[in-house]
Symmetry: D2
Subunit: 406 residues, 4 copies
């Protein structure tokens, strides 16, 4: 039993998560992975759902756990997966979100312009691969879909990947929105592989429908909840105002040198590639500590936004099917300018509109294939009596407005 | 239906928490209460149990929910409780932890010398009472046990209070340590009042035993888990080192003016009373953001401790029934000094011992009284065939040592 | 506290069910209600889902519990409901299934020809009303939809009644089909009344969609699971064979005089009305004990069917979208006749076809109305971006065949 | 993938139970195993806890599932277990309760005099072994503790066996007595083997304490609940009366030939060995259907007991620490005789006393050994600060009286 690594982690969602692979253990122990402890999985959803304070680290551990189950199920069904591929798939899912910055999606493309978290994940994985002497090669190939067995990539990033299965399960668990619960264990048991592609056995059709409906519900009820949306958009405004003031030559000290650095620099993919080590120091604490400081900043716009955020006296938000009336917006805008004694340009920080959209299932870009007993393959939206009909394939768009409530 | 306040909050533990009292709503909306969102309930237990990231706000909302249930049960049994008393008890439990500072118990009596969080809670409640025009009078009387119906205080602070019931329930839920689960709903149904005192009906004996055993388990398995203990003691060392350096005249800028202020000042109860508004700005973010900054401080002691903390390369911890061998400690200590190239005095930050203790049930200071059908009252440790025997009344003491692992 | 009735029943699904009304207590104590303990809620679903052995009594207690919650929520929203109406609604839901005979739906219209269980429920309620001196008048009016507040009836029997909410919740709980779980607590909080009719608040749309999808899943995955379907159809064949033999003058003693009586009589509504007391002696035990006896009956058809049933060597079942090929059936049929050495007519007992159908949501006969904030009312299938589309309004029909597997 | 057996069973307690061994599948399919579907796991506990209607079949499947987990854990820790031993241990646990008769423990030693269900289990296993051509040899050796690796037997029948783990878990689940929940998954992970014996790792001490406390609670709160006790003792009285009447030459037809046979015969181990096939036809349905018939029997004693049972108008029960006062009993007895117009001898059926006892942990006959890191082994009641103290080693005895409530 010597030298065997075997660590067991309690998880309220799955019971116990087991780690028994040295490379997996090495990845988890890395400071860059540990940083994910300090990034909320759901940004500011906890302002509405106080339980939703779980972290990116917990989510990626959870997705890793589901990956272990999925691989075991597939191997039991006779799918050929080598031990090396198994480790690689586990490492890849552990690192799939390593590129997330503070408050995850809420500041994506804002802190680092035009650069998705997946792009940064790959950059980080490459550096880790060097540090770990090439041990992550296969994991990177799987993650970037350059591996000969596409189903391994599809388990990480696809319509039915373990990432989605974990976040829906975990987010519904922590928010207490029990209706978002999916039958992840049954779906895992229904997975199969045909000609290299991930499929679902016929018996799993209703579970898949349920999965899509749960996801739809979670989007509109939780992720795009108007108060959550409003808080996250306000966060963006705060960061934008800080950058703007800095560009105008004002002093806007954040709470850390690291965050100062990113606020002052014109960011981009090339930039982040050069400063990856600094990026890997950044987390929610840098941003929120700065916002707490800025409550006392001399700029009214910045301090007002920050105070409303910290004291949870949030901007008012409306969400509806049609665009908002421009005249009504103008009146509100005038009131706000007068009330806060700010000029018209600055009022953009206190009243702004946007669009939120979500697609229940888009068969053209993402496919869930059902493998029937007679070996035919059919898209979930094309099976007999499909719940997931054509009308659900186009995105639902809603309009929101956030505004300071005088 | 106008003017009626009715807010429903999703809670993964209890389902839904309802707020339907204007004063309760006013208290929850106050920025000082909202601050509790930024204080972890379990400090650094999440380093071992990654799910345990819930907040003081969530805990106090949960305790409030149990208080609502307890009051309803007692009223149904004919106990006389007026609507004013009900509101007061609810407000008192909501505010029972308002005096906690960053990382709750971990820094209690460290950031503010010799001042418990309860003392600060009372100070804060008095100021809130002024702000809210005397509406909190009765809540304060209940909280300080100066009210004519002692059972209301006992529900907040006693051996069987809703505070403990919520934290055991919530902490076991979020850690995933299912064995810490207690039958809170059954205990609530077994509560009764005799001559003003809270008691438990005879039928509830086994539930109470189970409650005490679950608490015992949670202490040794979670709250005093050696890694959790080590991390929290390291946190104390970090704050002490920062204070020491400041007193020696070094620059040790934290991440916020607020935390700077408390690090530089000789704190005490009188001091905190004077600067309550500043205290109410302080939370986990101030402390952790400072620690992140100090990773790069020029003082080796401070930066080494901070780095080990942030990267989760924690001090090694041992916990045992007997004190540690002094010779062994001396050897370790010398190794550390040599390895880190620090002087002997500074080595106190890298190797230190202490004691952890917990009492399963101490009938002399805390009593759980069982009311038998024949109206006699007996302490839970004195009932026939009691599980909770005399030997469990004295505290169990364990010795720990934390040390830098060369 | 004298004379107050307060009984608490543990329920694995809801925690605790409280009974605090003397009339409710009287109804529950009645032998006819207690009979429901001996009727499986899900007939033979436990042959596939071994946990699904819960009873009609448990289901009706659960529905009663949800009724209590629903009434409390509605009263909190200002809906006018008198204490008498409350008791009546609770009694009505307790008794809504009192007319079920052995194995519930599986033998409905078989043991008692052309008489639904609702019809029998009303007959029984009338007799109980006499026994209880008219105390059930209002409950009967509500049950039969003759009461001035239609929403009370809709809570018992409608598209969103507490009957469905409990059976979906309870059946998914006991089968372990977690995907059938619905957010009953959230739905209850979203209920409202407009102009006497039950409606759902706008915020509840996604919960309702989820409810309909869960029901759809439960039908195809559980209630109409091919093995369950096959077992229940075999049960019908057994009873039919026994009746047939009796009509032909054979001796087919059941295990009880009561069941003998019903097997020998030409049943009908008028008949059952006359022999209600005998009907109320009948339960699963009469039928299954008889089947156990008939394993040893001299008639090959009866004994073979009974043995396959008791030993769980069930008829083979296929379920598909198209009707079965007649030639294939004929071949099978011949094989069976030869194998079992029975004549062609008797072979109807060993190979038979039928249709199973279920409608996800039929807006013409059942409506779920959504009440929008602007007071307009819209059917759930007509709201923007409805999941529940037109195609789901027509029933899905599947064809089954059960046959003896030579 | 051909010929591979892989069956998945939904279980509300554990999620999914997997069967992937042909011999296991063969055993489960046997009619004698299927008979366990018709035996309630908890006899008449459902009269108090309506959810507790699960079956012996479900319990033994659950224990089988835990056995699978335990074996996997032990193998992962390097314990040597061959595939044949694995199958044998699984078959042995599946069959450990096969010898239970109707209503399990309630009629043990009553229907079949002086013969425990374990004795009958072995008899049945031997016959099955013949039927299955010796495939059960190893399973029988393990079951009867004649195998060279004692830990395999200890997993089936010992202080910490999977039988207890399943019944505590399942019974608390189905009754809704959440306080009986044990951390079975953690205990399984803490199991280890030293010198052939099953032990628990040091870290598992608190889980084991919790397990013993949960069992203690379940005994007094559920298994020996006074109403449950009373119902089961009444059941015994009913069977005894029927036998008595038969011996006196009266006609007391049961509902089946099988039950008639056992009521009329002087049973014993030798007898049951001879009529094992008949025994394997007997289940709850034979007994309860007979009781339903006997409600109308001409013997007042029998019909009165049966009616009270079926209508749940049970005998009154008291349970207390001291024996009951003989004078009080005499008075009650006289009242009952007068009220029911029966003679004094028959009154024994309507008022009777007895003792119930339970031991929390008896270290002399059953041991739970803790394996410390330093390889020493200590009994759980002897570890430092043990919760499970000496006083709990002697049985707690309580006295009950059941009597007809005039």
């Amino acid at each position: 039993m010597t030298n065997r690594i075997r660590k067991i982690i309690n998880d309220p969602v799955y019971g116990f998560i087991t780690i028994d692979d040295p490379l997996v253990f090495q990845v988890i122990s890395h400071p860059w992975y540990q940083r994910l402890r300090r990034i909320h999985q759901m940004a500011f959803a906890h302002l509405v759902y106080p339980g939703a304070v779980h972290t990116r680290l917990h989510h990626s551990l959870g997705a890793y756990h589901l990956m272990c189950s999925a691989l075991t199920e597939l191997k039991n069904k006779g799918v050929d997966i080598t031990p090396e591929e198994e480790t690689a798939a586990k490492v890849a899912i552990l690192l799939h979100d390593i590129g997330h910055g503070p408050f995850s999606h809420a500041l994506e493309n804002v802190l680092i312009n035009n650069t998705s978290h997946e792009t940064i994940s790959i950059l980080i994985m490459r550096v880790l691969n060097e540090q770990m002497k090439g041990q992550l090669h296969k994991a990177i190939d799987i993650f970037t879909n350059n591996y000969t067995k596409p189903f391994l990539h599809q388990l990480i990033s696809g319509q039915l990947d373990v990432d989605r299965m974990d976040y829906l399960t975990r987010d519904s668990f922590y928010t207490g929105v029990s209706e978002g619960v999916i039958g992840y264990d049954r779906i895992l048991k229904m997975l199969t592989v045909k000609e290299g592609d991930l499929m679902v056995e016929e018996k799993g059709i209703y579970s898949i429908e349920k999965f899509l409906v749960a996801r739809r519900l979670m989007y509109w009820q939780v992720y795009l909840h108007k108060t959550v949306l409003g808080a996250e958009k306000t966060l963006v405004k705060i960061v934008q105002r800080a950058k703007e003031l800095i560009q105008q030559g004002h002093e806007v000290p954040a709470a850390s040198v690291t965050f100062d650095f990113f606020l002052k620099s014109p960011t981009s993919k090339a930039f982040i590639e050069q400063h990856l080590d600094k990026f890997c120091l950044l987390d929610d604490y840098d941003v929120l500590a700065a916002i707490k400081n800025w409550v006392f900043h001399s700029d009214t716009v910045l301090s007002t936004l920050c105070r409303s955020f910290i004291e949870r006296r949030l901007l008012k938000v409306k969400l509806q099917a049609e665009p908002f009336d421009q005249d009504w917006i103008k009146t509100q805008r005038n009131n706000i300018c007068r009330h806060l004694k700010i000029n018209d340009a600055d009022c953009d920080y206190f009243i702004f509109t946007g669009e939120a959209e979500n697609t229940t299932y888009n068969p053209t870009v993402e496919r869930i294939n059902i493998l029937f007993k007679n070996e035919t393959v059919t898209d979930i939206s094309k099976v007999d009596n499909a719940l997931i009909h054509q009308a659900l394939a186009s995105p639902v768009k809603k309009y929101y407005i956030c505004y300071y409530n005088c």
